[in-house]
């Protein structure tokens, strides 16, 4: 089939909103708002890094990269690393080599624009495998640590027993959520608890200035996301995300924890968690757990400090390893935009991009959250 690969132009937006019904959701209005927030108003790029495939006069596929700014070292050397996202191919054009063609065209264009590397923090199972087959490297698992509420753990164990004996029935019998109301509104308990904690504030709105002032956005010897009030204000205005906030320290907070609910409402994630010291960090975590009473609370732990990981263990978080490729995996994928170099040579400020030990990454750095 003949495909034309094109860089985004504003007149494509209505068609992109319709195309993204396959990935984002059914509302073109919401899809448009999400696209504009993510790609048009992205503070790191002057124009969207979005590529589409056209066939017979209509858009049939899209692959995008959203701007992400990272810094490293005491001096804060900054580098823009586009992050792959939003891959969609309409069903009748799948299995036709479009993913590879779109990616190759995008990488060539990004290389011409001076971007040496790209990453992916939200790859689907199919994307992971095909990326690995086309020059990307996995820097490693981001390690999902999960804390399940006690009834949820019981249901999980029960599910295992059912699967052994009545595999077809188990879904109907034990996959039902423990509380429909809590799943529909995963922050129901959290919101009801506002004002109940004397040490912390439970909030529905971010405080970007105060959050940017909190120290500890990652050690200087790692690649870490650039954070300031403007970036946080934009990042937390994602029109399709549901966030909640825990602040410690009153008017001048010395720590915050940001929660994000998945679209289904079944999982709540700690997407950002910063504090001036370990005691404040622990108070934030305890408050989020006690107030939220979440059925499933998760966090990426791979690049956290040993002390923080130990704190998570103490609060009954445990690592969750996927059961296979169909389930997908949370990994950091890295690639040079130009071919011909070994992944050993992919470095910024001497740090190897193909090693997770070079990074400080939280869920908020992924467009999936």
């Amino acid at each position: 089939m003949d495909y034309e690969i094109l860089r985004y132009r504003p007149e494509f937006l209505p068609e992109i909103a319709a195309l993204q019904r396959h990935l984002w959701g059914h509302s073109d209005t919401v899809n448009t708002a999400y696209f504009e927030w993510k790609h048009v108003h992205n503070p790191f790029v002057s124009e969207p890094l979005v590529y589409v495939a056209r066939h017979a006069g209509r858009l049939v596929a899209m692959r995008a990269f959203w701007g992400m700014l990272w810094e490293v070292g005491e001096s804060g050397e900054q580098v823009l690393i586009p992050s792959a996202a939003d891959t969609v191919i309409v069903p009748e054009h799948r299995d036709r080599g479009l993913f590879a063609r779109l990616t190759a065209a995008a990488l060539a264009d990004l290389a011409r624009a001076g971007h040496a590397y790209v990453i992916n923090l939200s790859a689907s199972p199919a994307t992971i495998v095909s990326c690995l087959a086309s020059g990307w490297r996995s820097a490693g698992r981001l390690q999902v640590f999960v804390r399940r509420s006690a009834p949820r753990r019981f249901i999980r164990e029960l599910r295992g027993v059912f699967r052994q004996h009545v595999p077809r029935l188990d879904r109907r019998l034990v996959d039902a959520p423990q509380s429909h109301r809590q799943v529909l509104d995963p922050f129901r308990a959290f919101d009801a608890a506002a004002g109940a904690h004397k040490d912390v504030e439970l909030a529905t709105q971010p405080r970007p200035d105060a959050m940017a002032a909190v120290a500890g956005y990652g050690p200087a010897d790692r690649l870490r996301p650039v954070r300031n009030a403007q970036i946080l204000a934009w990042r937390l205005s994602n029109p399709v995300a549901r966030y909640r906030f825990v602040f410690h320290g009153g008017a001048q907070p010395d720590g915050h924890l940001v929660l994000h609910a998945s679209r289904s409402g079944e999982t709540v994630c700690i997407v950002d968690w910063r504090a001036a010291n370990e005691a404040v960090q622990a108070k934030l975590l305890r408050a989020a757990i006690e107030a939220g009473r979440f059925a499933r609370l998760s966090i990426w732990a791979a690049t956290l400090s040993e002390q923080t990981r130990a704190m998570l263990h103490d609060h009954r978080f445990a690592i969750e390893v996927p059961s296979g490729v169909r389930e997908g995996d949370d990994v950091l994928l890295v690639r040079a935009t130009r071919d011909g170099t070994s992944h050993d040579e992919w470095k910024i400020a001497g740090l190897s991009l193909a090693s997770l030990t070079s990074w400080r990454i939280d869920m908020i750095d992924s467009d999936a959250h």
């Binding site: 299995d95 095909s130 296979g324 169909r326």
Partner: protein, 85 residues
């Protein structure tokens, strides 16, 4: 046993490739390139990964595979299953 597995793998691959509308142009040999020749697309690769998991009854560690090197031919896939899983 290995012959039977090779036949199952060849049958699975042929079905995947043909369902994607691609012409195999003859036999699917042990050394026919699947990935570098673009016979397998992204979805085809995912299905192949799932096939390997089903065949071996063991989950793959996606952080430790290089499909272009490990799965480009039937011979490569067999070697991968025999030595890495």
């Amino acid at each position: 046993m290995k012959t039977a597995r090779r036949e199952r793998l060849a049958l699975f691959l042929r079905e995947r490739i043909e369902s994607a509308g691609k012409d195999l142009d003859g036999a699917l040999g042990s050394n026919t390139s699947l990935i570098r020749s673009h016979l397998l697309d992204s979805l085809g690769l995912l299905h192949l990964a799932a096939w390997i998991e089903d065949e071996t009854r063991k989950p793959l560690d996606v952080t430790d595979i290089d499909p272009a090197a490990d799965w480009d031919t039937i011979a490569d896939i067999e070697h991968f299953i025999d030595t890495r899983i």
